[in-house]
Amino acid sequence: MDDLCRRLATDLDAGFPDLVEHLSSDVYSGLRRLAGPSEAEDLTQETFIRAYRALAGYDPDRIRSLQLRGWIWTIALNLGRNHARDRARRPTPVELEDRLGVEDAEPPDSRAWDRRLSALSSPQRRAVVLRHVVGLDYDEIARATGRAVGTVKSDVHRGLERLRRLMEEEG
């Protein structure tokens, strides 16, 4: 990643496809759980497009010192929040049939996990998904969400606890 930062700092256009390559599964997997299957792809694209524009405006020193994995999530979360707010203002469109194909490729219990995760408070869901689906460490999550490390740890812990109880209830 440090090497990638160096390359982005010297030649953004040459390094950027590698940034997408390295982080697209992170961003997509997380947004898939936080924003839903029909939005994840578009939001993933938009996250990287915004990342490119942001990088184009940074000076090389700033790019070299970026923690890319956490940084990309500050963009993705911000976008996800605005998106949810915009969607709340609009009537929800009927889910199109061609989206069903997207779900076919997912693990069989994917929808069950969506349901369980939706029972969590949104800071808990965000913390659990970023920690255990995406694989960020607590510092990265704290930076991306603008919350204290201790708070993030406790969100993850409580979130997992809630998931455990839900699964016990399911039997």
Binding site: D13, F16, P17, V20, E21, S24, S25, V27, Y28, S29, R32, R33, A40, E41, T44, Q45, E46, F48, I49, Y52, R53, A105, E106, P107, D109, S110, W113, V128, V129, H132, V133, V134, G135, L160, E161, L163, R164, M167, E168
Partner: protein, 245 residues
């Protein structure tokens, strides 16, 4: 149990569709996109970046790196009109790779009305560089956005129709016929050395394709080989076609 949950959550990791990377590279302009349109010269590919249209090629000769895609919604609808009218209008063009001089030539070429032609020399005078006729010729030959910036309306300084970059000179004739510029007549006038037409009712002289010149009836028509002859005979240059550039 918590360990099981952590493993299950880790198992939810997945990759985005392959199209994501392409869409991102299109979205930031690292990869050009193209869309196909029908034109009088056949199917053309309009190559674009997020900033605007970058080039127009015959569909058979499009850059193999370009990806067929939908142009940005904000201006996609303006492309067919720009192609049909032969002027950019409010369609954004991405001419970052074009030199300032060539961009200036393209801007002036874009003002030539549909159905009319001007010469390389005229363009050179119009941008204030009358000596730059050859450089204007290369700017037209390398015009990245033919049809939209109508280089088919720019002809040789002797009035002959001349060369064309988008698939050769036949296409230039096709386009000029399509917009009613009557290239056969223009070519005949050029062959007979006529460069300007004047009307003794208005006292004005024009380039032969000017829409004012076309309305001159034969009884009032005077022809000239040189602008100096026209001015010496007391004619003023037309305010519409600016025959002097």
């Amino acid at each position: 149990m918590t360990e099981y949950i952590e493993d299950a959550l880790e198992g939810l990791r997945s990759s985005p569709p392959n199209s994501t990377r392409t869409a991102v590279e299109l979205g930031v302009g690292l990869l050009p996109g193209y869309a196909r349109y029908e034109a009088p010269v056949g199917e053309v590919a309009v190559v674009f970046t997020p900033e605007g249209v970058r080039s127009v090629r015959l569909a058979s000769e499009v850059d193999p790196r370009a990806v067929e895609a939908r142009p940005p919604r904000a201006w996609a609808g303006r492309i067919p009109r720009a192609l049909e009218e032969g002027r950019p209008g409010d369609l954004p063009l991405d001419l970052r790779t074009v030199t300032d001089f060539r961009r200036q030539v393209l801007q002036v070429a874009a003002t030539i009305p549909r159905g009319e032609v001007r010469s390389y020399g005229w363009l050179a005078r119009r941008i204030g560089k009358p000596q730059a006729t050859r450089a204007v010729g290369s700017a037209m030959a390398t015009n990245p956005v033919p049809l939209i910036v109508p280089c088919h309306r720019v002809v040789r300084s002797d009035g002959h129709i001349g060369a064309y970059s988008l698939g050769g000179p036949d296409n230039k004739w096709t386009l000029l016929r399509h917009e009613g510029a009557e290239p056969d007549q223009l070519e005949d006038l050029a062959a007979s050395g006529v460069r300007y037409l004047a009307s003794d009712t208005t006292g004005v002289f024009c380039v032969p394709s000017c829409h004012h010149a076309r309305r001159i009836t034969s009884a009032h028509l005077h022809t000239f080989r040189l602008d100096t002859e026209a001015t010496a005979a007391g004619y003023r240059p037309c305010q519409s076609c600016h025959p002097l550039g």
